[in-house]
């Protein structure tokens, strides 16, 4: 019986406490460094695509959301560094489970999972990301992401990293 009374008093105390909720669209909590979000395709420094259209990512994908159609590189149309390139490269974000297996499977580090997680659309078709969309730098949809959250160790991040004895290279500007 005393325990119930204790419970009631606990909830009653909370009534006068400031809520600890983080108001999401206004305040964005930085994600962890290895957070897996929206995919990104990469290019070599000379502008050629890293992807050679080998379809290993599609084979590794457990939810079968990647579609790759390769084509041969020709001397006058050289797209990638290898023999072939991905003529079509599509990821269906509605099916993707963000497991990161594609990233592991890729022999050329052509695909990585970024940190953007705000992917909602109002139609399902819009969730099929094409190659050109994946090659672009993801749009920074929110002002707080203008500063790359991984360069700026927030208090939260420091605390989490501290738990694993990792010291981050602190941002010289110390911006936040």
């Amino acid at each position: 019986m005393l325990n119930q009374v204790k419970g009631f008093s606990t909830t009653f105390r909370h009534l006068f406490q400031k809520p600890i909720t983080q108001q999401y669209p206004e305040y964005k909590r930085p994600v962890y460094p290895r957070f897996r979000g929206r995919h990104q395709l990469h290019r070599h420094e000379n502008g050629l695509e890293k992807c050679v259209g080998c379809s290993l990512c599609a084979a590794a994908c457990p939810s079968d959301c990647i579609r790759v159609v390769p084509a041969e590189n020709t001397p006058d149309n050289r797209v990638s560094a290898g023999e072939r390139y991905a003529r079509i490269y599509e990821i269906n974000m509605a099916r993707c489970i963000f497991c990161g297996y594609c990233e592991l499977a890729c022999p050329f580090d052509a695909i990585t999972l970024g940190n953007d997680f705000e992917l909602s659309e109002i139609s399902r078709d819009a969730l099929v990301y094409t190659k050109s969309m994946l090659l672009e730098k993801p749009a920074l949809r929110t002002p707080s992401q203008a500063v790359d959250p991984y360069d700026v160790p927030s208090q939260e991040m420091e605390r989490v990293l501290g738990m694993y004895d990792i010291t981050t290279a602190t941002n010289p500007e110390g911006a936040e």
């Binding site: 119930q4 419970g7 909830t11 009653f12 009534l15 406490q17 809520p19 600890i20 909720t21």
Partner: protein
């Protein structure tokens, strides 16, 4: 009909609309309060402080598709939410908000209750028990085993707690010597029945929480569990009507508690309706507080509490009251 037919109809309409508005904003209050109890904000997006939330909810519910399961008994499936709603509003109609009031500036007097008979309490109990049929019909007519089992579970719970509930109320009736709300409220002018009838009040309160399907006795709905209760197959406005009926039942039971144990509309300084609203609000606050604090009971615990704890305690209370009334 104390005031003539037309005035009664006007009063009924006013009461019904006030009740609906009160209900709508109580949902906001409930969500806000539960948020604060759990160190959250609660709704704060629609309008200032989320005040437009009930209206947004209504808009959302109205837009939803009205689906009828193929095997359902169509007429009963459609009728069930209306039955639940009608009974919920109807039971509230007999609640007194004061005795006689004079309209300021004129010498017209009106009664601040729609009707008062010598069996008011029985009528409220009767209409309340008709509300069970909404649940049972809804569960049966959906032609789905989850809904049917949910309906039967709801009925089993309500019938079990109805017994203890009625026995607890009878203590008040014996002490007041009347079934009319006005006389019961008047009989508490010097001492609220919550003091002499404290045992009865406890039983009444627990049973009322169970009767109105509020946590921790919300097994019929059990929103944390996989399948909902009798309204599994309902969606949109029909579901909203069930939910509204449930909440209005809670308001009615709070009003009943206010009349039976807290002296109804009587109180110093403020007019009757304000006192009544304050007392109803106090009951609802405690209901919300309980919801934020206690975990849901299991079904066997529910039956055990109803039959093995509340019923004997209510009977004991009745016995003590009877002895006290006769020999004191």
């Amino acid at each position: 009909m104390v005031d003539g037919v037309i005035l009664t109809i006007i009063k009924s309409l006013v009461l019904a609309s006030v009740l609906m508005g009160f209900f709508a904003y109580m949902t906001w209050v409930e969500r806000k309060l539960i948020g604060r109890f759990q160190a959250r904000y609660g709704p704060n997006r629609v309008g200032p402080y989320g005040l437009m939330q009930p209206i947004a909810d209504l808009g959302k519910m109205l837009q939803k598709e009205n689906m009828i399961p193929e095997m359902a008994h169509r007429k009963l499936y459609i009728a069930a939410p209306f039955i639940a709603m009608t009974c919920a509003i109807g039971a509230f109609g007999l609640m007194p908000f004061g005795d006689v009031a004079t309209i300021p500036g004129t010498d017209w007097t009106i009664h601040l209750y729609i009707a008062d008979t010598s069996v008011s309490l029985l009528v409220v109990a009767a209409i309340g028990s008709l509300g069970f049929y909404g649940l049972m019909i809804g569960g049966w007519a959906s032609s789905s085993k989850y809904a049917l089992l949910g309906g039967m579970r709801a009925i089993a719970q309500l019938v079990s707690y109805e017994v203890a509930f009625t026995l607890a109320v009878i203590g008040v009736i014996i002490q007041a010597g009347s079934l009319s709300f006005i006389s019961i409220a008047n009989a508490q002018e010097h001492l609220w029945y919550i003091i002499p009838q404290f045992l009865g009040f406890l039983v009444f309160f627990v049973a009322a929480v169970a009767e109105s399907n509020r946590p921790p006795f919300d097994l019929t709905e059990a929103d944390g569990e996989v399948v909902a209760g009798y309204h599994t197959e309902y969606g949109g406005m029909r579901y909203a009507m069930f939910a509204a009926a449930e909440f209005i039942n809670a308001i009615t039971l709070s009003a009943l508690g206010a009349v039976l144990f807290l002296g109804g509309p009587s109180g110093p300084f403020l007019p009757g309706p304000i006192w009544m609203l304050l007392k109803i609000g106090a009951f609802l606050f405690v209901l919300i507080w309980i919801r934020a604090t206690l975990p849901r009971v299991r079904f066997d615990q529910l039956m055990k509490i109803g039959w093995k704890v509340l019923l004997p305690v209510a009977t004991l209370n009745l016995l003590l009251t009877a002895v006290a009334v006769v020999y004191l």
